[in-house]
Amino acid sequence: MGEKILDITGLKVEYHTDGAIIYAVNGVNLSLYKGETLGLVGETGAGKTTIARSIMRILQTPPAKLCGGSINYKGQEILDLSEKEMRRIRGNKIAMIFQDPMTALNPIEKVGFQIAETIAVHNKITKAEAEKRACDMLEMVGIPMERYGEYPHQFSGGMKQRVVIAMALACNPELLLADEPTTALDVTIQAQVLEMIQNLKEKLGTSVILITHDLGVVASCCDSVAVIYGGQVVEYGNLEHIFDHPTHPYTIGLFNSLPKLDSGETRLKPIKGLMPNMKELRPGCHFCERCNDARECCKTLSPETVEISPGHIVKCHFAKKEVESWPHSLKSNI
Amino acid sequence: MVKQRHNSQSGLPEIWRRLKKDKAAVISMFVLLAIILVAVLAPLIAPYGYEVQDKKHPMEGSSRAHLLGTDRLGRDILSRLLYGARYSLAMGFIATAISAVLGIILGSVAGYYGGRIDNLIMRFLDIYQGIPMILLTVTLAAVLGPSLRNAIIALGVGFVPGTARLMRASILTVREKEYIEAAKSVNARDAYNIIKHIIPNAIAPVIVSITMGIGNCIMAGAQLSFVGLGVQAPIPEWGAMISDARNYMRGNPTLALYPGICIMLTVLAFNLLGDGLRDAMDPRLKN
C-alpha cells in the first residue's frame, strides 16, 4: 500500500461528568494509508465517534479529556498542535461529515454560499472563484448548479447530505471522516450516496474513515475494517479477514445477530447481555461478560493484540489456535 | 444494590440532589427561608410596632434605640422592614398563585384541545397582552380601589398570559410524544391523560417561571405601591416605604436604600433559585 497518512497509537479519551468518569476510548491503535477506506464498526457508545472527534480535535473539553496516546497525521502530531495550526488543517486537510444532514446546514444561508464560504476560509481566492468552485462541487455531487441559490429547506434529506458531502470535499481534503453518513437516509437514497462517495473517493484519491454500525455498508465500500467494542479495537483486518474469517467472539456475534437475506434461518443468535458500563473500567477483556467462550483469564487479564495472519489483528486470548499456550505466554507479557 | 440505586434516582429527590450542587441556588434558598421566617415572626422580633411613632426622634440616623434610624414620623425603620416582608411576600406569593392557577388551566386547555378553543383563548390573551401591564393594573386598582387585596388581584390577573403561554407551548411538545398515543391505545380517557401524563411532564418550565414570577410580582407590587395604587399607609410594604422616602432622597437616602436593598435581595434570590431549578429539572442534563 501507499503512504501512511494517519497513525493513531494508544489513544485514550475519558469523559468526566458529575463525579463519574466514562472511559470512552481505551488505547486505540489504528493506521490509515493513502486512498484507503477504513470502516469503524461498533454499537452505540463503543467510542467510534469519539475517535473521529479526537482526530478532528473537536472534542468538547471538558467534559472530554484526552488522556494519552498520539495521533500522527503525515508526521505531524495532531494532539500537540495549537488551535490556530489545527484550524488550518481542519476542514482543509481533514474534513468531517456528520450523521444528521438536517442540522449540519445553516437554515438561513443559501446552500451554495455555505459551500463557497468553506472554500473561501481555507483558500486565498476571490469571491467569484469561490462561487465557481462551489458550483463545481454541487455538480460533482449530482446537484444541478441552478440550485446554488436555494435554501436547505428546499432540499430533500438525501440532497442535503450531498450538500454536506460537497462542503466536506470542497477543499480537497486528504482525509474524510464520515460519521454514519447514511444512517438517517432511506435505503435507496443510501445507495445513491454511498455510490457517490465511492466515485468521488476514486476520483480525488481521498482517504476515508467511515463510521457505521451497518456491516452491509462496510462490505460495500470499505477496504479495511476495525471492529470497536468498549473503546478498543477488538479486531482489525481487510474485508476478507473480517467477513470471511471473523475471529473475535464479538465480531462473530455481530454477524450472527444480523438477519440475512440469502438464508432461510428461523432464529437469530444474538449476543447475550448488554454493552458494558463504561463508567467502570475493569481489568480483563471488555467483552468477557457477553462472551460464550470466556474463561477465568478473560476476567482478569486484558488480552494482547495478536496478528493471526498478516494484517489481521485480534484482541482476544484465544485468537490463536494453540489455546493451551496462551495463558502461559501472557503471564510473561505482564 | 441495583434496587437501591433505582429507587433513589428520580422525581423530587433527584431534583434536590442536583439543585444542591448549585451554590447560588442553595444560598438563595436560605436567604428566602430567612426572609419568610422574618415575615412570619415579625411581631416577635421587631423592636417596635410598625406604626408606633417616636415623635421626639423623627428622621434620625442609626442609634442604639433605632438600629436603622427612623422615618419622618419617627417610626422605626427596622421594624417597618421586618413587617414589610410580610406584605411584600404575601403580594408576591398570592398574586403568583392566582396567575399560576389561571395560567395553567387556560394554557393546558388551549394546548391539549388545540383548534378553535386554542385560538379563542390565545387571541384573547393576545389582546390582553397588548394592553400595557402597568396600565392594566392601574386601571384595575383604580376601579377596585387601592388596597393590598386589590393590588394582589390586579397583579395576579396581570401575570396570567405569560404563564398560560408557557404552559401551552410546553403542553404542545408533550402532547406529540408517543407515550400519549400509547396511553390512548390502552384506553386512557382525555382527563386521565392530561392529569397523569401531560401536566406532570409539561410543568417543569412553568414551575421555574413561577419561581421567578414571585420576584417579578414583588417588584411590580412595589411599583404599584410607589405610585400609590397598592398598599396604603401606614402598612409598611417595601415599595410603599420607598414611595414615602422619595421626598427625602437628598437629605436621608438611607430611607429609600434599606427597602430597596430588601426588594433587590428577595427578587435576586427568587431569580437565582429559579435558574437553579431550571438546570435541576432539565432532563437533558440528567446523568
Partner: protein
C-alpha cells in the same frame, strides 16, 4: 373461519391546506390470519406508519372497511373501541419517547391493567411481575425509570405493556430500528417467541428489509401510499416483480463480500404525495416507465399469493431474463 383482520380499500387522506390532500394511505387491502405476521416495508413517507395507526384507530380512516374477527370496526362507537383496543395494541419505534419518563417500569406496564379495571391493585402488580419475566426483565428493575435503562430494556418494557391486555393483534411500528444490532436480535427473537406462545398476529412496519424477511410470513411493499407488491416472504425475495421492489432489494447493503449484486441506483427521490395524479406513482423514477403507466394500475395475482401492481411487470421480467441469458 374469517381471518383475524381484513382490510379493504383503506384510505387515509390528510388535509394539506386548501383543497390539497395528502394521500398517505391509498386503497390498501389485505388480510391477516391469527398468529401470522405481515411485514410492511417502504421508505420514509410511504404511508406505512399511517397504515398501522389507522388500523388501531389512533387515526380515523377516510374510507374503506376494517374487519376484526369478522366484525366491521371501521367506525366503532366509543364502547366498541374500548373493547377493541384490548385486542389490538401498538408498539412504537422509539422506546425513548413511547414511555412516560416520570413513570417507573412497573407503573408503565401496569397502566393498561389499571385502566382496564378488572383486576385489583395487588393482582395488577402480580401480573406486572409476570409480564416482566415474560419479556426478560429482571425484577430488580421494577422501580427503575426509563432514563436509567438502555434502549433494549426500554423496548422490553414497551412490549410487556403491549402484552398486558393479552391482545390478539399487535401493530409493530419499527420496533427495532432504534436499537443496536446485537440488541435488535434479542428483541426480534423475543417477539417471535411471544407470537408462538400466544398466537399473536403482527403487522410489522419497518424500512429494514432483512428484518422484515426474518420475521414475516407475508410482505407488502408500499410506495407513496400505494401497495405495489405483496407476496409470501420467500417469494418476494426470490422473484420480485415490481421495478420498485427490485430496486429496493438491490439497494440493501449485504454484509458479505461475496455474491455482490449489481445495485440498481434509482434516480431522484420520492415526490410529494399531495394530490397525486392517477397511475403508477413510481413511474417518475422508474427506468421502465412507458405511457401505459399513467393509467391507474390494477393489482394482478401473478402467482399464488403474489400480487403486483404494475402493468408492465411481465414484459420487464422477460426482458430481464433475456438480459441475464
Amino acid at each position: 373461519m374469517a381471518p383475524l383482520l381484513e382490510v379493504e380499500h383503506l384510505k387515509k387522506y390528510f388535509r394539506a391546506g386548501g383543497d390539497r390532500q395528502l394521500h398517505a394511505v391509498d386503497d390498501i387491502s389485505f388480510t391477516l390470519e391469527a398468529g401470522k405476521t405481515l411485514g410492511v416495508v417502504g421508505e420514509s413517507g410511504c404511508g406505512k406508519t399511517t397504515l398501522g395507526r389507522t388500523i388501531v384507530h389512533l387515526i380515523e380512516p377516510t374510507e374503506g372497511t376494517i374487519r376484526f374477527e369478522g366484525e366491521d370496526i371501521s367506525n366503532p362507537s366509543k364502547k366498541d373501541l374500548r373493547r377493541l383496543r384490548e385486542n389490538m395494541q401498538i408498539i412504537f419505534q422509539d422506546p425513548y419517547s413511547s414511555l412516560d419518563p416520570r413513570m417507573s417500569v412497573s407503573q408503565s406496564i401496569m397502566e393498561p391493567l389499571l385502566l382496564q379495571g378488572k383486576l385489583s391493585k395487588a393482582e395488577c402488580r402480580e401480573e406486572t411481575l409476570k409480564l416482566m419475566k415474560v419479556v426478560g426483565l429482571a425484577e430488580d428493575y421494577e422501580n427503575a425509570y426509563p432514563h436509567e435503562l438502555d434502549g433494549g430494556r426500554r423496548q422490553r418494557i414497551v412490549v410487556a405493556r403491549a402484552l398486558a391486555l393479552k391482545p390478539k393483534f399487535i401493530v409493530c411500528d419499527e420496533p427495532v430500528s432504534a436499537l443496536d444490532v446485537s440488541i435488535q436480535a434479542q428483541i426480534l427473537n423475543l417477539m417471535l417467541d411471544l407470537q408462538e406462545e400466544r398466537n399473536i398476529a403482527y403487522l410489522f412496519v419497518t424500512h429494514d428489509l432483512s428484518v422484515v424477511k426474518y420475521i414475516s410470513d407475508d410482505i407488502m411493499v408500499m410506495y407513496m401510499g400505494h401497495m405495489v407488491e405483496k407476496a409470501p416472504s420467500g417469494l418476494l425475495f426470490e422473484n420480485p416483480m415490481h421495478p420498485y421492489t427490485q430496486a429496493l432489494l438491490s439497494a440493501i447493503p449485504v454484509p458479505s463480500i461475496h455474491n455482490r449484486k449489481k445495485r440498481i441506483i434509482m434516480q431522484g427521490e420520492i415526490t410529494s404525495p399531495i394530490n397525486p395524479k392517477p397511475g403508477c406513482r413510481f413511474a417518475a423514477r422508474c427506468r421502465y416507465a412507458a405511457p401505459d403507466c399513467a393509467q391507474a394500475q390494477q393489482l394482478e395475482e401473478v402467482e399464488r399469493g403474489h400480487f403486483v401492481s404494475c402493468c408492465r411487470c411481465h414484459e420487464i421480467k422477460k426482458a430481464q431474463a433475456y438480459q441475464t441469458n
